[in-house]
């Protein structure tokens, strides 16, 4: 299956949302797992490089949207992240914004009678 990835610029504005929503699935997750879940959930179209993911996680933590803890019970010392209440709030606000935005763009394209190239 050929998967073409989304444009970087398109992704940039939504990376927070992507990571927060993966964490919303419940429980704690570590970086590698988050990366994998994002890849799988997007059918390979969103690939978060480690160089993007980890600084992003640290920023979200600084902003109080996620919190972390170290745990070695899975056989390897890992840093686990989970959503905070503020993160959950931010996630639903951002989700709303994205839904509105997508609807808005769809509307624009309909008016302009632009057909997506399949």
């Amino acid at each position: 299956m050929v998967t073409n990835k989304f444009e970087r610029d398109l992704l940039r504005g939504s990376l927070d949302l992507v990571v927060l929503s993966v964490l919303a699935g419940g429980g704690k997750k570590y970086g590698y797992l988050i990366q994998k879940e994002v890849r799988e959930a997007s059918g390979g179209r969103v690939d978060l490089a480690a160089g993007t993911l980890y600084p992003l996680l640290h920023r979200l933590e600084d902003d109080g949207l996620i919190r972390s803890s170290w745990d070695a019970s899975t056989g390897r010392e890992r840093k686990w992240y989970e959503l905070t209440a503020a993160g959950r709030k931010r996630l639903s606000a951002q989700a709303q914004e994205w839904a509105d935005y997508a609807a808005c763009i769809r509307q624009l394209l309909t008016i302009a009678k632009v057909q997506p190239a399949s």
Binding site: G51, T52, Y54, P55, W70, R76, R78, K79
Partner: protein, 379 residues
């Protein structure tokens, strides 16, 4: 199952992180677990170990870029900290000022001098010292910073943001002179990519700004990034106290060839014709007829007392204007000027020229073995 290839990568990355040891270890630890997970998965898929290690690292990408991401994050954090600190110091200074004002002699109706000494106790002295150290700290900071070595890792960072990051990370103010930059056709969005792990701040600025045909100067504790044309308009006048340097005795035999060929030692006399040169004492007896050779060569001095000084000052000025940015001095049509009064050399030029002049003079002080091996500068 820590692989030493990972160790190398993580050690490099850790070195590039200008963060506290604890933070570095935490980041390295987190990334290590990721690399090991990845390696395990690739091995399970039957990828040969060497290949798997290579691939895991490749997916991680450039250590420098990754470190830069983390460092720029911490810059934001530090900003908040600096702001808190600044608020705190403002409060402290207000308190100090209030303290000084309360104890200010004029406010207490006619305290005798004795009372003055006795009355304002530790408070005033401590307050004054505090204020002084705040000021000094600030002065030193920016000058010291220029000579400090550090890592500079920027990947496609716009000049504007780069200046912001540098100022937050180092606690100084950097101002980008947007108007002059735009006039010169330089956009502050210009992406900058530089990676140096160990470089003087000064050298980095020279390199990075030089590539954009820009320069910087320091005014009122603010580092201003601007065009060379605008910087040239910012002339600063400073006076360098070179009296000590000029009163250095001439070492034996030096400078002689310029003055006289035959009677070498006589050229070192300080006061022609008054007494025998101390340097000549004890060594070879002066041949008769040598004294006229004391007049410095080139006819630059009047031959009377003090002639030697004039010769020295002129040659010191010559030295400065030849060594330090020769094309910036007014005798060749540049904006800088230099003049002397009784061993005090005043220079009007740009900040950067001043810095070089100061360094050159300090080097001369040091080379001359002066105890205060630093030139006194009046601004």
């Amino acid at each position: 199952m820590s692989d030493h290839e990972f160790d190398n990568y993580l050690a490099l990355l850790s070195r590039l992180l200008r963060l506290g040891q604890k933070q570095r270890d935490a980041i390295a630890g987190e990334l290590r677990s990721h690399l090991e997970d990845r390696l395990e998965e690739l091995l399970a898929r039957g990828v040969p170990r060497d290949e798997a290690v290579r691939q895991a690292l490749e997916e991680f990408g450039d250590a420098a870029a990754m470190a830069a991401e983390f460092v720029s994050l911490s810059g934001n954090k530090r900003k908040r900290w600096i702001m808190r600190l600044t608020t705190a110091s403002v409060a402290a200074i207000v308190l100090i000022a209030a303290g000084i004002f309360t104890f200010w002699p004029g406010r207490n109706a006619g305290p005798g001098p004795a009372q003055l000494v006795a009355q304002p106790p530790a408070t005033q002295a401590a307050a004054a010292a505090d204020e002084k150290s705040v000021q000094e700290h600030k002065d030193i900071a920016i000058k010291d910073l220029l000579d400090r070595r550090m890592a500079f890792i920027f990947k496609e960072v716009p000049l504007r943001d780069l200046a912001k990051q540098l100022s937050m990370q180092n606690g100084i103010t950097i101002y980008v002179d947007t108007r002059h930059l735009e006039e010169a056709g330089v956009n502050t969005d210009t992406p900058i990519t530089q990676a140096f792990t160990d470089m003087r701040f000064r050298t980095f600025l020279d390199l990075m700004l030089g590539e954009l045909d820009l320069t910087y100067f320091i005014k009122d504790d603010v580092l201003i990034i601007t065009t060379p044309e605008s910087a040239e308009g910012q002339r600063v006048i400073r006076v360098y106290d070179c009296r000590e340097l000029l009163s250095l005795p001439h070492p034996r035999g030096s400078g002689v060839s310029k003055v006289a060929r035959g009677g070498g030692f006589f050229a070192v006399q300080d006061e022609p014709g008054e007494k025998p040169a101390p340097a000549a004492g004890g060594t070879a007896a002066p041949p008769a007829g040598a004294p006229p050779q004391n007049v410095p060569g080139g006819g630059r001095a009047d031959g009377g007392a003090g002639g030697q000084d004039i010769w020295d000052v002129d040659s010191l000025i010559d030295l400065i204007t030849t060594i330090v940015d020769p094309d910036t001095w007014d005798d060749v049509g540049g904006p800088g000027s230099i003049a002397e009064y009784k061993g005090l050399i005043s220079v009007a030029s740009t900040q950067q020229v001043h810095e070089k002049v100061e360094r050159l003079l300090n080097m001369l002080h040091q080379a001359g073995g002066l105890k205060e091996s630093k030139v006194t500068v009046v601004e």
